[in-house]
């Protein structure tokens, strides 16, 4: 079960990042076709495709594009979220390094759809090599006359902050500020970067757009499930035989991904738990992996598809230790703006650490569950809810393991 590769089809070519290689495999033909289409027709095709945002939130891409006002008198911006940072996810790194022209072609089409004249590509600061590769591709595309004729691309480097992957935090950062998320509404499509209508799309999402234009929304929709079209790139890591990226239809199951594609479980060979969609996705037990990996499939299973970062743990892994590592991450990355998030992430890390170190108190687990549930949904952005998912699911599903560490 893997089917046709769309996003990764060129990855095996050593020169896959060049304009020549991209063109040889049909690159920029969708852009030629899109130029004959009205912006509304492009949006309709993308809506029909059931393409959903692949950065984490899973919002329907065509619908997002349609929120941009048509009669806006000033500039409209397209922003590419290349601030990949969700623990367990590494797909955008591959796309930026190995197929940067697919990102650019997707941007050209998206920009036409929303009538944007400038595109900003926000690449995480640590991605130095992807940044160089992408800049080289922008230079090539400009020299070839693909960019600079009504649409220009500005490549922007971040400086180390997970929260800038949240779209309004990213916008704050792009504007030269600390990356504090903003209250919605107004949504970026109405009032985004520099106060102008802005669409923020993930790298992988945009890479799908040329395929949708070339082969049609209906074709793309048919590759996936009823509510989500296409393939996506699963990043698989942790205790598996073959960690790496795997492109598959979103209807693939977690079991197929772990056993058929990634080669099965290492460690003691017996699966204990899986994080199916990046660190913020609630954890699943070994008996919960017969689930499709689309947005709604994982939602129904009580988790989320998120960024499709799959982290596999065998029976020898300590879940309390894993939660300690994840809790440290959220404590470190909370931007500090909202009190429930700033305070809870710090305290939960300290409490889980003392449990792991054998100094836990019998009320600790209920304290964590209580503050997590009370804080959920009370903050400006989804970061804190992303922390609550692991806090609650790790403790509820593996409570015995935590209790065994707490002195009686």
């Amino acid at each position: 079960m893997s089917g046709e590769r769309l996003l990764t089809r060129n990855f095996d070519r050593p020169d896959s990042h060049t304009l020549r290689a991209y063109r040889e495999t049909g690159g920029y033909t969708a852009w030629a076709k899109a130029q004959e289409m009205t912006p509304e027709a492009i949006i309709e095709e993308v809506k029909r495709s059931n393409l959903r945002g692949l950065g984490g939130a899973g919002f329907p891409t065509g619908v997002k594009w349609s929120f941009v006002p048509r009669d806006h008198p000033g500039p409209i911006y397209l922003v590419v979220n290349a601030d990949e940072g969700e623990p367990g996810t590494f797909k955008d790194r591959y796309l930026l390094e190995r197929d940067p022209h697919a990102v650019i072609e997707g941007m050209l089409i998206a920009a036409r759809a929303i009538r944007a004249s400038t595109g900003f590509v926000y690449i995480r600061g640590e991605y130095v090599e992807p940044w160089r590769r992408f800049q080289a591709a922008v230079a090539e595309a400009s020299a070839a006359g693909l960019l600079g004729r009504g649409f220009e691309v500005i490549v922007h480097r971040g400086a180390g902050a997970y929260i800038c992957g949240e779209e309004t935090g990213l916008i704050s950062s792009l504007e030269g500020k600390k990356g504090w998320p903003k209250l919605k509404p107004p949504f970026p499509a109405v009032r985004g970067a520099f106060g102008m209508p802005t669409v923020v799309n993930n790298v992988e999402t945009l890479c799908h757009v040329p395929h949708i234009i070339n082969r049609g929304g209906a074709w793309f929709a048919a590759l996936g499930t009823r509510t989500q079209g296409g393939t996506r790139i699963y990043s698989v890591s942790g205790r598996v035989r073959r960690p790496g990226i795997y492109e598959a239809p979103v209807s693939i199951t977690l079991r197929q991904l772990i056993y058929d594609l990634a080669g099965g479980v290492t460690g003691n060979g017996r699966l204990k738990a899986v994080v199916p969609g990046g660190a913020s996705a609630p954890i699943l037990r070994a008996d919960e992996i017969d689930v499709t990996m689309d947005v709604d499939g994982l939602k129904a299973a009580g988790s989320m598809a998120g960024s499709a970062g799959v982290i596999v743990m065998d029976e020898t892994v300590s879940i309390p230790e894993a939660l300690m590592v994840v809790a440290r991450f959220y404590a470190h990355e909370s931007c500090g703006q909202c009190t429930p998030c700033r305070e809870t992430t710090g305290w939960v890390y300290k409490i889980v650490r003392r449990i792991v170190e054998g100094r836990g108190r019998k009320e600790d687990l209920d304290t964590i569950l209580d503050v997590a549930r009370r804080g959920a949904g009370t903050t400006i952005c989804a970061f804190f809810d992303g922390a609550v998912g692991p806090y609650i699911s790790y403790i509820e599903k593996f409570r015995d393991e935590f209790e065994a560490l707490i002195p009686r």
Binding site: P87, F90, G158, G160, K178, S237, G238, F329
Partner: protein, 158 residues
């Protein structure tokens, strides 16, 4: 310590960056990257200088500098080793790699060797989990670390 001043060419680059965006202030992160490449770290003097170039209050630049992890507020070593200690790297033995580096370098995480050669950091996910445990060494990602590979890497750092 050299005076905190960009060269005329660098100043031209600052002006180019400021003109690139709808608002000049959006060039703050790119200019801070340039400043760190030039001066090695972002001292209070560098913050004040950059603030002047943007017509911003130094406090605003300070707020931005302190928000992001990639800006050094102390002089780092000639090389920076940033070991990922997030979940996938944790599962693959990041703590052993960090312990090995602490022993070999004689420093704790966050410190720089006495000879100024290496700063050791532990960082959150660098998104190369398929090659865990991994680290960023200056600009490069170093994959699939073992103590032996770490020793070889250290030999190359002067």
């Amino acid at each position: 310590m050299t005076a905190v001043r960009f060269t005329p060419e660098q100043l031209a680059e600052v002006r180019r960056l400021q003109a690139l965006y709808p608002e000049p202030r959006a060039a703050l992160l790119p200019v801070l990257h340039l400043a760190q490449e030039t001066f090695g770290w972002i001292s209070p003097e560098v913050e004040a200088y950059v603030a002047e170039l943007f017509g911003l209050a130094p406090a605003h630049v300070h707020e931005v500098v302190t928000f992001y992890t990639l800006f050094f507020r102390q002089p780092p070593g000639r090389h920076v080793i940033a070991v990922c200690h997030n979940l996938s790297c944790h599962l693959a033995g990041a703590q052993e790699i960090l312990a090995h580096l602490r022993r070999r370098l004689g420093v704790e995480v966050g410190e720089t060797t006495a000879d100024g050669r290496v700063t050791l950091l532990a960082v959150e996910c660098l998104c190369a989990c398929e090659h865990a445990p991994m680290a960023q060494v200056d600009d490069r990602y170093e994959f699939d670390l073992t103590p032996e590979k770490v020793d070889r890497l250290l030999e190359e750092l002067r």
